[in-house]
Subunit: 262 residues, 2 copies
DNA sequence: AAGTGGTCTAGACCACAAC
DNA sequence: TTGTGGTCTAGACCACTTG
């Protein structure tokens, strides 16, 4: 039984005539959304599991089903939960996505990603280091804090296509090994959920065109004058907490980065 | 007074027991959405104008306000209309976007796009040609059909940053001149709305890293070994009809392409 | 048959903008 | 004061899934 900031029989935003700035106000369904979010964040329901039914949540929060519904609508729009008619509402997970890689927008020019199958992974490096200024800033850490750094190559149909450098906060990802990164079947983000309880919910990418240095070119088996996509990604858990910095170099001779605008 | 495929007092999907495949069924609010979309498409309400109030539409379609509301909710989510509390619901337009360029995701590395101000445009070329196979496929035309082709350079703070080639269906854009492309104040897509009645509603982009040829390098005042972002965009009007093919070459030494994932 | 999400309605009230 | 979109409720019924 949770207590609401503003309960249903204790209407929100009573609009005092004090004349000062509007007090922090949010509609009921936003408050409900916040409470559900809190439960998600605290792990009350695990990825892939069903959350309580709308009627149950309505009773628990003492609001109507319609209000819970609108809260869940927004959570579903943000891909935090998934609704399935007749079954229930489920916590999103990177493990059972209809598309294999939720955050990877690189597609083969030949259209169909399914024919490629999953990428082959080769982990080149995985070790604990101290964060430099750039990494620290991206992950909201202090310079010198412990981070786990990894480098790996993803190949499609045997062709090395992506070279990735990954930085993870040392605290949350204590004990991460190269074997885990290499051998886990399925998306790496699913492994993060399962082994570390870290769910990536959102990400931002900055994309540039670059030329590889000698080492990068060698790893991707290309010449140093092959232009590459540099994709710098920061992935966030709940509450906009950054939990991963990833810098990918994508070959785009047989693949392209696809984006939809509206 | 429109007649609905399934009226409110003539319940949809009576679920015949014929045992064959489910007949085409869509909920009432989807039908309403379709009707509103049709009016938008036919220009019953122009970009920037208000559409009728929810109550009016509810009366017109003989459904409840809540049903109209849900239809408009989806249209708003797709950026086809914009709601403004207390004022009404307005047809989206590229002219008065809160961000100046709705489809341009290139931002200065220094964060704030506003300090740059609008881009300086220099039109290099604008002429009618016949569509080759690639252009024809992208625009759903036949090879040899008339298209208007243009090339221009966008500069920020005096630095040539984007080289764009644009292809437009000749029929819809009859009479387009270099002067229009160069002199119109505001987004080019706003000019398309105003002068040609063509509203771009959605777009898809394929992004690659490339090296410029001699001519491209000269126009952008860079060396031919400067890697560039190649952004191939197809923009669509209503009903997924492609109305523009655009290929941009972006310098990414001082700017980056920004994308958000969820 | 029971339980879930999905749709639709009707009515009340709130917040915002314009007159 | 009026009209708009925004919130909230309560109840009915539909569609899908499971037992």
């Amino acid at each position: 039984m949770s207590s609401l900031p503003f309960a249903a029989d204790n209407p929100a935003a009573p609009q005092g005539t004090a004349g000062v700035a509007t007090p922090a106000f949010s509609p009921l369904y936003q408050q409900i959304k916040g409470l559900i979010l809190q439960s998600l964040q605290q792990g009350e329901w695990k990825p892939g599991e069903a959350i309580p039914s709308e009627m149950e949540l309505a009773a628990r929060f003492r609001v109507s089903q319609g209000t819970v519904r609108k809260a869940i609508d927004e959570l579903a729009a943000e891909n935090l939960v998934m609704r399935r008619q007749g079954k229930g509402t489920f916590v999103s997970t990177h493990a059972e996505q209809h598309v294999q890689y939720r955050f990877l927008k690189l597609l083969p020019d030949t259209g169909d990603a399914r024919v490629e199958g999953p990428a082959q992974r080769r982990v080149i490096d995985c070790r604990r280091v101290r964060a430099n200024a750039d990494v620290a800033r991206a992950l909201a850490l202090r310079s010198g804090d412990a981070v786990t750094q990894a480098r790996r190559i993803l190949s499609f149909a045997g062709v090395p296509t992506i070279l990735e450098d990954i930085w993870l906060p040392g605290q949350a990802f204590k004990g991460l090994t190269a074997e885990q990164l290499a051998n886990y079947q399925g998306p790496t983000y699913a492994m993060f959920e399962l082994d570390f309880g870290v769910r990536m919910v959102r990400a931002e990418e900055k994309i540039r065109a670059v030329l590889p240095d000698e080492e990068q070119a060698q790893l991707l088996q290309i010449t140093p004058v092959t232009p590459l996509l540099s994709v710098e990604r920061i992935a966030y858990t709940y509450n906009d907490v950054p939990m991963e910095l990833r810098r990918g170099l994508y070959r785009t001779d047989t693949h392209h980065y696809r984006n939809e605008l509206s």
